[in-house]
C-alpha cells in the first residue's frame, strides 16, 4: 500500500490528539484512503512529557525545522499556534513545496494575506478546517457544499469558553467573574482569558469565514468586537423574560457593496436553535440563496474534536497527493483573481434591534424624557419594562427597540446618559430576531 509521510509540528493538546488518531485509527484511515498515513516525525520542545502514546524511536524530536526540511515528509501539520515560529515554519514548508494543515486561526486572521499568497503562488494546498469551529465541517461547507449559493449571512457561536461562561451565568446566576473562575478551574478557559472572553478569538474565526463566504480579504482587526465581561445575571434575567437568550455571536451579512461583520453578546429568541447550544459547544447558521438556513453544531475545541478536523484535512491532501493533484479547490473558496476588497460596513450604519437598560431616578417624567430623546432620533420602542417604585435611589428601565440604526441609538444614549436623572451608562445589547 502507498505511504504518505506526515510531519507534525507541536505536540501539545491538539497535536497529541492528531498523533493519537493517526496511530490508533490507522487501519480505519487506511481502509478509507487506500494508503497508510505514517506519523514520520513529531517536533516538540518537550520530548519527555507522557502523552499516553508510544512513538517509534527517532520520531519525536525537538527541531521543528528539521521536520519541515525532511525531503521524505509529504505533509506538514502545524499545531504550534501563534504568529511567530509557526508563521516561519509554514512559509518554509510552502517554500519547499510541502502542503500544510493548520488550525492557526490567529495567524490566518491577521496574516492570511501573506500565507495564502505564498501558498497560491506555489500552488500548494493549505488546509485549515480546524481553525474554525473545531470538528464542525464549516470550511468544507463554505468551500464545497454551498459552492452554488450566494451566502447571505452567517450567525455563529464560535467560542466554547464564552458559551460555557454565559451558560453558567444563565443557569446559576453567577457573576461573570465567578463563572470565569469556574471555567478556568475546569479547563474551559485560559489563565489569560482575554483572547476568548474579549471576543477576539471569535473575530479571528469570523474573519476567516467571511473571506471564504464572500470572496474578500478581511483582517480580524477591522471587525467590531465586544466581549462578554459586562454581561450580568440581571440582564440575562430580563432577556429571558422577553423570550431571549444571550450568546456571544459572530454575525456577518452580505449587503452586496459592503459586508457587515461584528462580534458581540447578542439576544436571540428561544426558538432559534442557537439559543439551545449550551456549555462549551459551538454552532453556526449559514444562510444561502438556495439552501435557506443550514446549521452545523459540534465541539468547537478540545483535543479529539479538533484533531478530527485536522485528520480530515490531512486525508483531503493525501487524496490529492495520491491522485497527483494540487490546488483542486481554491484556498479561499474563490479563484484568486475573483477575490476583491469588499468594504466592511461601519458599525454606525447597521440596522438591528436593541435591548437597553437604563438606571434612572424613580421620579415622574423620567420615562417620558428618555422616550422623547429616543423618538427624536427616530428610534421606535417596542416594549418597556419598568420595575416597581422604590422609596429612593434608581430603578432599572428596560426597553426593546424596533429596527434602529446603530448611530442613532448611540447618539440617543449619549444624550440620555448626560441627563441628571440617569445614573450609570446604560447597558446596550443587540438583538437578532427576524420577527422582532
Amino acid at each position: 500500500m502507498r505511504k504518505i509521510n506526515i510531519g507534525l509540528l507541536g505536540c501539545g493538546t491538539v497535536g497529541t490528539g492528531v498523533a493519537k488518531m493517526l496511530i490508533e485509527n490507522k487501519n480505519l484511515i487506511s481502509s478509507r484512503v487506500g494508503a497508510d498515513l505514517i506519523l514520520r516525525r513529531v517536533a516538540d520542545i518537550d520530548v519527555k512529557r507522557d502523552r499516553g502514546l508510544t512513538f517509534d524511536d527517532g520520531v519525536l524530536i525537538t527541531d521543528a525545522q528539521q521536520v519541515v526540511d525532511d525531503p521524505e515528509i509529504d505533509i506538514i501539520i502545524e499545531m504550534i499556534g501563534g504568529e511567530g515560529i509557526a508563521r516561519e515554519l509554514i512559509l518554509r514548508a510552502i517554500e519547499h513545496g510541502k502542503p500544510v494543515v493548520t488550525a492557526n486561526k490567529a495567524l490566518l486572521a491577521s496574516q492570511g494575506d501573506v500565507i495564502f499568497k505564498a501558498a497560491a503562488e506555489k500552488g500548494i494546498d493549505l488546509a485549515f478546517e480546524a481553525s474554525v469551529g473545531g470538528c464542525m465541517p464549516i470550511i468544507k461547507a463554505l468551500r464545497e457544499s454551498l459552492v452554488g449559493n450566494h451566502i447571505k449571512s452567517m450567525t455563529g457561536i464560535l467560542n466554547g469558553t464564552c458559551n460555557y461562561i454565559l451558560s453558567k451565568i444563565s443557569d446559576e446566576k453567577s457573576s461573570f467573574a465567578s463563572a470565569l473562575a469556574e471555567a478556568q478551574a475546569n479547563g474551559f478557559a485560559e489563565t489569560d482569558p482575554t483572547l476568548d472572553v474579549g471576543g477576539f478569538d471569535t473575530a479571528h474565526k469570523l474573519a476567516i469565514l467571511a473571506c471564504l463566504a464572500y470572496g474578500t480579504g478581511m483582517n480580524f482587526k477591522d471587525i467590531y468586537t465586544e466581549g462578554i465581561s459586562r454581561i450580568t445575571p440581571l440582564d440575562i434575567e430580563y432577556s429571558s423574560q422577553f423570550g431571549y437568550k444571550i450568546k456571544l455571536l459572530a454575525i456577518s451579512k452580505d449587503h452586496g457593496d459592503a459586508i457587515e461583520a461584528r462580534v458581540h453578546p447578542t439576544m436571540i429568541p428561544f426558538d432559534n436553535l442557537l439559543s439551545n447550544v449550551n456549555g462549551s459547544l459551538n454552532a453556526i447558521t449559514i444562510s444561502g440563496d438556495a439552501v435557506g438556513d443550514i446549521l452545523l453544531y459540534g465541539h468547537g475545541a478540545g483535543m479529539m474534536p479538533t484533531a478530527s478536523a485536522v485528520i480530515s484535512d490531512t486525508v483531503d491532501i493525501s487524496r490529492n497527493i495520491l491522485s497527483g493533484v494540487n490546488s483542486r479547490i481554491p484556498l479561499l473558496a474563490y479563484q484568486m483573481d475573483h477575490i476583491r476588497h469588499i468594504p466592511l460596513m461601519p458599525l454606525d450604519e447597521i440596522l438591528t434591534h436593541y435591548y437597553v437598560r437604563f438606571s434612572a431616578l424613580d421620579q415622574p417624567g423620567v420615562l417620558s424624557k428618555i422616550a422623547g430623546i429616543l423618538g427624536n432620533y427616530g428610534i421606535s420602542i417596542k416594549t418597556v419594562h419598568q420595575k416597581g417604585r422604590k422609596t429612593s435611589g434608581s430603578v432599572p428601565i428596560v426597553m426593546l427597540t424596533h429596527l434602529s440604526k446603530e448611530a442613532d441609538v448611540r447618539k440617543a444614549l449619549a444624550e440620555i446618559t448626560a441627563l441628571d436623572i440617569v445614573g450609570d451608562a446604560p447597558v446596550l445589547i443587540r438583538i437578532e430576531d427576524e420577527d422582532g
Copy 2:
C-alpha cells in the same frame, strides 16, 4: 475559460432548481470553480411547461438517451427518480464513462450494489449528496469530514413530510388523518403518502448512510421500519408530560459485529436538539469516537435546497475533471476491498427504553397484574401514570420502562394483551434517552 458540459435528465421540481442555479448563479459558480458549467442539454417528456427559465434553442429535448449518448456531455445529472428508466440511464452513462450525479435514494437503497459496482469497475465518479437530507452535507461529512472517526451512531430526522405532520399533530392536536390532509394541501405530502409516512423514504436514506458510515452493504428492505400513522395527540400529550417529543427517527448504532438500524416514531428529550427541529426541516446527529456528537440541520427537501446539494456534487466532479482525476474518494467512503457484510442486529435484540400505553379496565388489581407480567420478563418500570377513575369503561395506564430488550417487551405485551382486563392492543413507542 474551460467549459464543463452538463446533461440534465428530468426537469421536474428539483431538476428545474438545478437548471435555475446553473443559469442564475453561473458567474458565482465560475468564480469558484475556475470553469464555466454549461447546461448543454435538458431532457424531459414535458418540453412545453413553463419553468420560469429560458433555455437556449435545442437545449430542452424529450430524449434522455440522446443526452446520455452525447459525446460532448461531461457530466450527467439524473433527476428522473424511480428505479426503472433512471437505473438504465445511469448504467448507460457509466458505460460511456460519464460521471453521474443523482438524488435517487430509492434506487441506491435497493439496487446500490449494481449501481456502485458498475461505477467502481469503470472508475467513474457517482455522487449522491442530494439523496439524503437535501442540502445538509451529510454524505460529505461521512466520506470526508469524519474520515478519521469510527462512527458509533447516527440519529436523524430525515423525512420532512413526517416531521411536518408530527409537528402539526403536536402543535394543533390534530389527528394523523387531518394533519396528513393539511400536509397534502400545502404540498408537503404526496397524493400517495405511503413512501413518506410509512417510513420507507427514511429507511432508504438510513441504508445509504449506514453503508457509508460502517463500510457495509445494506438494503433498506432489511431495516425495521414503522411509520407515523398510529401516532395520536393523546400519546403526544403524555410524551410531553414526561419531557419528550415524538419524532420519526432513523437510528443506527455500531455494535462491532452487528449494526443496529431501525426507523420508527421515537420519543426524545426536550433538551435534545433534534426535538426542536420542527416543520419540514431535517437534522441528524452523528456520533464519532473523536468528534463526540456533531449535528447537521437544514431543509431536507424542496426545489432549491436539494438543487444546492446537486450543484455541490456537480462542482466536485467538475473539479475532478479539471484536475484529470477520477475516483479520488471511494464511492462508499471505504475502499471497495474493505467493504464487508456486517449483519443487521435483529430488532428483538435491541436494548432501549419504552413508552407503553395500556387501555385497561379500571378495577383493583389491574396495575399489579400488568406490572407482574412485565416483572416476569425482567422489564423494570421507571414511571407509571394512571388517570383518575371513571365510573365505567377503560382507563389509560402509561408506563416508561428502564432499558429493556425488545423481545422481552414484545412477549410481555402479548401476554398482557391477552388478559381480559386489557382492551385494545397497547401502544408502544421507543425512547432514545441517554439519561433515561
